[in-house]
């Protein structure tokens, strides 16, 4: 078979339409989420709904950009192994505009999170940064910038693939057609797109590195306005990368059979995604350990309360160790052997464990601080406060998580059903047998 014939087979196998049943279920998820959020926000304890939305936005938005980062990395480096996953990584990023929308919604509930929005409560030396107008400006500004950069990058990456797909299999839909207007010859377009993206890729990576720090500092760290850690932004960035790779690992197991990608996605490629998760989980643990050790050893009153609440209080302390098990011990011992990494059902099980762990990590960073703020406010109002509520999962957590998850998967499938599922025009995409 010539290369074009091979690519044509891939296209035929991987083109799919989002089936009515699945779409219905996902739309139902979203509806449940919206209903849950509206009921919660209008109810007697609106902060529960708002905090659930914040946790999910931070979590799923991070995964979207984290996955895109891998596409960017494969563009920048000459690594061949990741090529078959490039488009799936880009498809995961389809959620990021929705995440932006959710952040816009979250501005309206910001007073539930941030003590500093109250003029009487903000720490005055920080008021230059922690003030609401500037908060909105910088978040919208940087987010829009990164979205634009990402879109240009994804567009350049899609264009030659869609062009080739058109030529080979008459690939056509509204979204794809709009991307290939004024299409030149295939060869020119490939060279041009590659040239453009070599420039775009580092910009997207740097953009996301800055944005992830901003999100981590502004939306998560500043909930406890006294506490600070220079590493916090990097921790969120690394967590987003783990999330992205864990999703790719899950997808890898599914599409391998479903799209008949044997050879393109093979045991060794799947193995590589598992190894990547292993390495990133170790990196995450390193980030956590470095923060915990420095703060514990330094024993400075501005820094320690955050850890005491999260490691030693009976309300939340247990969750720290649970997270360590889920995000360090299980992937570390689970993915240490080659057989474990090679076995799709097993490594995917660990990916699910990691994704749940990362979700809990966001919950663990956001919610205790909100509870503490509320306890402070109640104490200031003269009420007697006995400890914090702790981990009290509720209907809003479930419904809103389901809603955002539904939106996330919908975006992914919507995008993937409209573009070639593999970067077919990329010369570095080859099946194992040809290597």
């Amino acid at each position: 078979m010539t290369r074009h014939e091979e690519m044509k087979v891939i296209l035929e196998n991987s083109t799919f339409k989002l089936s009515g049943g699945l779409r219905g279920v996902l739309v139902l998820f979203v509806a449940v989420g919206i209903v849950g959020f509206v009921v919660g926000a209008l109810g007697s304890q609106p902060h529960l709904a708002w905090e659930a939305l914040l946790v999910n936005t931070v979590f799923f938005g991070g995964i979207g950009f984290g996955a895109l980062t891998f596409s960017v990395i494969w563009q920048i480096t000459d690594a061949n192994w990741g090529r078959p996953y490039k488009r799936f990584a880009e498809a995961l990023a389809a959620f990021t505009p929705v995440a932006f929308g959710l952040y816009l919604v979250l501005f309206f509930g910001a007073h539930h999170f941030f003590q500093w929005m109250d003029h009487d409560k903000v720490i005055h030396s920080k008021a230059g940064w922690l003030n609401f107008p500037f908060f909105i400006e910088r978040n919208i500004g940087l987010f829009v910038l990164v979205l634009i950069l990402s879109w240009i990058y994804i567009k350049n990456s899609l264009r030659p693939d869609i062009g080739l797909a058109k030529k080979l299999a008459n690939f056509s839909n509204g979204f794809a057609d709009r991307l290939v207007s004024n299409y030149g010859t295939q060869e020119e377009e490939e060279i041009l797109a590659n040239k453009k993206n070599i420039r775009m890729a580092p910009l997207v990576a740097i953009g996301w590195a800055c944005l992830s720090s901003l999100i981590a500092f502004d939306w998560v760290m500043s909930i406890d306005q006294e506490w600070y850690s220079t590493m916090f932004g990097v921790q969120y960035l690394v967590a987003s990368l783990i999330g992205g790779m864990a999703c790719l690992n899950l997808i890898s197991g599914v599409v391998w059979k479903k799209f008949k990608l044997n050879g393109y996605i093979s045991v060794t490629r799947h193995h590589d995604t598992s190894k990547f998760i292993f390495a990133l989980c170790l990196l995450w643990t390193y980030m956590i350990f470095s923060q915990v050790l420095v703060i514990w050893y330094g024993n400075i009153p501005e820094e320690t309360p955050y850890l005491i609440l999260r490691m030693q209080s009976h309300e939340w302390g247990w969750m720290f160790w649970l997270l360590l098990v889920m995000l360090f011990l299980i992937p570390f011992f689970g993915l240490m052997s080659r057989t474990a990494c090679n076995t799709p059902w097993f490594s995917r099980l660990i990916s699910i464990d990691i994704l749940v762990g990362l979700w809990l990590e966001k919950y663990f960073l956001v919610v205790p601080s909100i509870q503490e703020n509320m306890a402070d406010a109640a104490a200031a109002a003269g009420a007697e406060v006995h400890g914090l509520p702790g981990f009290q999962y509720n209907l809003f957590d479930f419904s809103i998580t389901l809603g955002v998850l539904g939106a996330f998967v919908l975006c992914f499938l919507w995008f993937l059903s409209r573009v070639p599922a593999l970067p077919i025009s990329d010369k570095r995409l080859f099946s194992e047998g040809h290597h």
Binding site: P202, Y228, S229, T230, G233, Q291, V294, Y297, G298
Partner: protein, 441 residues
């Protein structure tokens, strides 16, 4: 790789090991003079105490600790290139990893001297090590300085072993090409390696395992060095980003040093240009770009959090660094580490040897300045203005620093002559094996 064959690799690399010529001896004379200056100054320091160094009260850590961190940092790129890049199957490592591993070993050997020089009464150096004794006096296991003793020693032993393991098949090559006593010595170093399938199989397995063991060390050593600072509560030192920031900085300076050493090596020995390709040098340049961006990010975040923390001591220190009397060192650091790697983003500059060499030297200077900034400015301006101080360089510490470069270069020059400075066996792996029946020129 068109004109590179199994035979030409052997020839080129063995050529580099021929008895040294005039240039080598002339360079060695300069190097030994530098080393002699260092030894003399150290002797002076032993005789007269620490008065010849700029160390004072409150700045108890000065140039010596700066040198220590600098040299440990240089020692990072070697293991990164040989172990981490091996695990991620990056092909550009093959031509450069031997020389960078040697650099690692010698840099750590240099670094390990500085705590000894710094402690003053060097004859008591064994107090650093926990040993059973009658009075049950133990070292302070809770001190990051002690963790450092362990970390650096572990790193040194593992990198030496890893270095020697990698050399085994290459020593065998040298043995096969030489006669007499030389053959005997290289035969011992090659551990009787004959290149059978069986031997290669075990060898590759061992190498892979070693790479996996060495990888965590890339992170642990410099993290622990950073904790020497971060564990305290001194403004400018106590910050959570220090471990990854130090690791990135170490790789940054290490890769720069690899370029500083390999670009001349490539120019001096004939045939090396075909083996150490410009593409490999460019890959190093890209590592510098990448880690340079991380370092710049860390600088910025430090300033941001100093403001955001609201802690007035932290703020005062981060005001002192760019505007105090030591500001020259701060801006030199920013220029060398953040600005000077920027031209590398242009491919033409990245592939231009003089430009690359210049930038690599600037980065080395910048990373020395970074450590100097961290060590000295924080001690100069801690909490109590009554206890503030400043730093002036004294001749003894300058001479010892020069001596350390002499010491490092001396080992590297010896290495180039007695060991294959490029990895013979691995370079051959990348070639098409010569066919016995096929005729080749």
């Amino acid at each position: 790789m068109s004109n590179v064959t199994y035979a030409s690799i052997n020839d080129d690399i063995l050529h580099s090991m021929r008895p040294p010529g005039k240039t080598w001896f002339a360079s060695m004379a300069i190097i030994l003079t530098m080393l002699g200056m260092g030894i003399f100054a150290f002797g002076y320091q032993i005789r007269h105490g620490m008065e010849g160094s700029g160390i004072n009260n409150p700045i108890g850590w000065g140039v010596y600790i700066t040198n220590f961190v600098f040299w440990v940092g240089i020692g990072h790129a070697g293991t990164l290139i040989s172990a981490v890049l091996f695990l991620v199957r990056a092909p550009f490592r093959t031509s450069i990893y031997r020389a960078s591993e040697a650099m690692t070993v010698f840099a750590v050997m240099t670094a390990a001297l500085f705590p000894l020089i710094h402690i003053g009464r060097v004859w008591n150096f064994y107090w650093l090590i926990p040993y059973p004794n009658q009075r049950l006096l133990w070292v302070n296991f809770k001190s990051p300085l002690l963790w450092d003793v362990f970390a650096v020693n572990t790193y040194m032993s593992v990198s030496i072993l890893f270095f020697l393991v990698g050399l085994v098949p290459d020593f065998a090559v040298v043995r096969d090409e030489s006669k007499g006593l030389k053959r005997l010595f290289y035969g011992i170093a090659a551990l009787g390696f004959r290149g059978t399938n069986h031997e290669w199989k075990h060898y590759m397995r061992a190498y892979l395992l070693f790479a996996a063991i060495a990888t965590p060390l890339v992170f642990s050593v410099h993290s622990i060095v950073s904790w020497d600072f971060a564990m305290s509560s001194i403004p400018g030192w106590h910050t959570t980003i220090f471990p990854p920031y130090f690791v990135a900085g170490a790789i940054f300076s290490g890769c720069a040093m690899v370029l500083t050493l390999l670009l001349p090596l490539r120019a001096i020995f004939p045939g090396f240009k075909d083996i150490i390709k410009m593409k490999d040098m460019e890959a190093m340049a890209k590592m510098i770009m990448f880690t340079g961006v991380i370092v710049t990010y860390a600088y910025s975040i430090e300033f941001f959090i100093a403001y955001y923390s609201g802690a007035k001591y932290e703020k005062a220190l981060f005001w002192f660094r760019p505007f105090g009397e030591l500001k020259f060192f701060f801006f030199l650091m920013v220029f060398c580490n953040c600005v000077s790697p920027l031209p590398l983003w242009i491919k033409k500059i990245r592939t231009n040897v003089p430009a690359l060499f210049l930038i690599s030297i600037l980065v080395n200077i910048g990373m020395w300045m970074e450590r100097f900034n961290i060590v000295v400015t924080s001690l100069a301006h801690d909490f109590d203005p009554y206890a503030w101080g400043s730093y002036t360089f004294e001749w003894v510490e300058i001479w010892i620093t020069i001596g350390s470069f002499g010491w490092f270069s001396m080992w590297f020059f010896i290495f180039v002559k007695i060991m294959p400075s490029l990895a013979v066996a691995e370079l051959k792996e990348a070639l098409v094996p010569p066919m016995r029946s096929a005729h080749h020129e």
